[in-house]
Amino acid sequence: MADLLKCPLAERERVVGKGRAQVIIELTKGFWLTLRRLFSAPITIQYPEEKRPSVPRARGLHRLERHENGLERCIGCGLCAAVCPAQCIYLEAAENTEEARYSPGERYCRIYEINEFRCIFCGYCEEVCPVDAIILGPQMEFSKGNPKDFIYNKERLLVPLKSKGELPASKDAGSRSSSGLVASPMS
């Protein structure tokens, strides 16, 4: 390995801890540091009483968004299910009719299921959704006792309608899509 340039460890004295004075000096330095740190502000968060603030891009539990008039955003195109690396999304689309209208366009999603056990929270579904219907929200705590409860169907995923005529709880749907989970020049 003659051709490989050899540079020794950066200018650093290599003291071997011999001599009682040296031992005491070095140990004292360490203890002095920990003693000083004892009086600095604690950084511990008292979870679960106190929680870390979530970030706008957080990739937690999914939710299905609605339009402002309460109609579902999802059109059942199936891109999320196709791109999902863990294959945890199952959906079936159906046609809207005049009597039963779920989404603005022709088609809506009749069955939408996410197996949150399989999901790896990569966020690809949110990234590819062409109508910003599926969003990964800030909810990270959804452990349950029964494994079957981890299969989230459409009713559990959809943002609930508060009441008839009232704007649904898709509070930050618009801001999120532009908040950067897709590549868009932001800063």
């Binding site: 540079c7 460890l9 791109v83 690396p85 929270f121 899509s177 897709v182």
Partner: protein, 390 residues
């Protein structure tokens, strides 16, 4: 003369100092290790095989989960291998951000190493200090990618998204404070007599032996071989930055410690330089056949929508051929060898894992040593079992 029997002792798979689930079968003669056999495979998940059934985009989240402490370099090695296969150019801003992330990840990974190594040798304070600093790195990752560890931030042709507003300021704050934190760790350990006694001259590995075991990264450099892929075959913007590669002299546990401490300082310098030259511009290359179009565009342009659907459902098909690309990960050379047969899924993905080769050297390093030294040596070579088993 009485014949003494040797004893078999299983260290692991649930031993706290095996960094995952490694079972070391130690044959002991009293307190001396006669023979050591690592048993791996407890975390086997079949990532490599799985990737043969995924499109190239879908493979990226898999790479995170191999070496879960250096997710960024895993993503980077895979995405850059695919980019090399495609001959795809990545915008300079994305390259610069990739450097920043890779170095942040190196610091984070070395901090975990330092924390666990110190804890295993009985120093609990550096453990808490190092993890509190790593928390800041994970916060930075979370702010930009949405998750703390499995970031998948590097994508084929660029990045997942541009950095959010305020990220650079937060990063600047971190790199301003971090050198003082490294000083603190060094105050606690570098000349601490107990630390010196536990690490100096323990697990000496000569440069020739390190090469013989195909070691790379800090372990190889601690043994006196100056080999860093960032210097030897520069990728991204590493050839434009000024940084030193620390090289050890003895190759013992102490040198492996010093090399990593200096690497953390050099990574901080690298980030500082990269932030200063961070160019403006897009973070994804503009190749609609390979890279997802911007989401605002697909709502307006039919052509982009078609590309978007095609990419999401089918992916892209690179030309048939094979490619190898490696980056300098925190644990060593992290490489991906990808064989494409021209379809939309890789025909074979082979990972060149630094951790696997590090584990390979363990029997050689600990044979003939005392049991307490086993902990010091096993910890010092630094491996992550998720990547060993894949």
């Amino acid at each position: 003369m009485a014949q003494t029997d040797t004893m078999i002792l299983n260290m692991g798979p649930q031993h706290p100092s095996t960094h995952g689930v490694l079972r070391l079968e130690l044959e002991l003669d009293g307190e001396i290790v006669v023979k050591a056999t690592p048993h791996i495979g407890y975390l086997h998940t079949g990532f490599e095989k799985n990737m043969e059934y995924k499109t190239y985009h879908q493979c990226i989240p898999y790479t995170d989960r191999m070496d879960y402490l250096s997710t960024v370099s895993n993503n980077l090695a895979f995405t850059m291998a695919v980019e090399k296969l495609l001959g795809l150019e990545v915008p300079p801003r994305a390259q610069c951000i990739r450097v920043i992330w890779a170095e942040l990840n190196r610091i984070g990974s070395h901090l975990v190493w330092l924390a666990t190594q110190a804890l295993e040798l009985g120093a609990a304070t550096p453990f808490l200090y190092a993890f509190s600093e790593r928390e800041k790195i994970l916060d930075l990752f979370e702010m930009a990618s949405g998750v703390r560890m499995m970031t998948s931030y590097s994508r084929i042709g660029g990045l997942m998204a541009d950095l959010p507003a305020g990220w650079i300021e937060k990063l600047a704050e971190f790199i301003r404070e971090f050198p003082a934190r490294v000083d603190e760790y060094e105050t606690l350990l570098t000349k601490n007599p107990i630390w010196l006694k536990r690490t100096k001259g323990v697990g000496v590995l000569s440069g020739a032996d390190a090469l013989r075991y195909s070691l790379s990264g800090p372990n190889l450099r601690a043994s006196g071989v100056n080999w860093d892929i960032r210097k030897q075959s520069p990728y991204l913007l590493y050839d434009q930055f000024d940084f030193r590669v620390p090289v050890g002299e003895v190759g013992d546990t102490y040198d492996r410690y010093l090399v990593r401490m200096i690497e953390m300082r050099e990574s901080t310098r690298l980030i500082d330089q990269a932030v200063r030259v961070l160019p403006a511009g897009p973070v994804r290359s503009d190749n609609p056949k390979v890279v997802f179009p911007e989401k605002e565009r697909i709502k307006e342009s039919m052509e982009d929508l078609i590309h978007h659907f095609k990419l999401a459902t089918e992916g892209f098909s690179p030309p048939a051929g094979e490619v190898y690309f490696s980056v300098e990960g925190p644990r060593g050379e992290m490489g991906y060898y990808i064989v494409s047969n021209g379809s939309n899924m890789p025909w074979r993905v082979r990972v060149r894992p630094p951790s696997f080769l590090n584990v390979q050297a363990i029997p050689f390093l600990i044979s003939g040593k005392m049991v307490p030294d086993v902990i010091a040596i096993v910890g010092s070579v630094d491996f992550v079992l998720g990547e060993v088993d894949r």
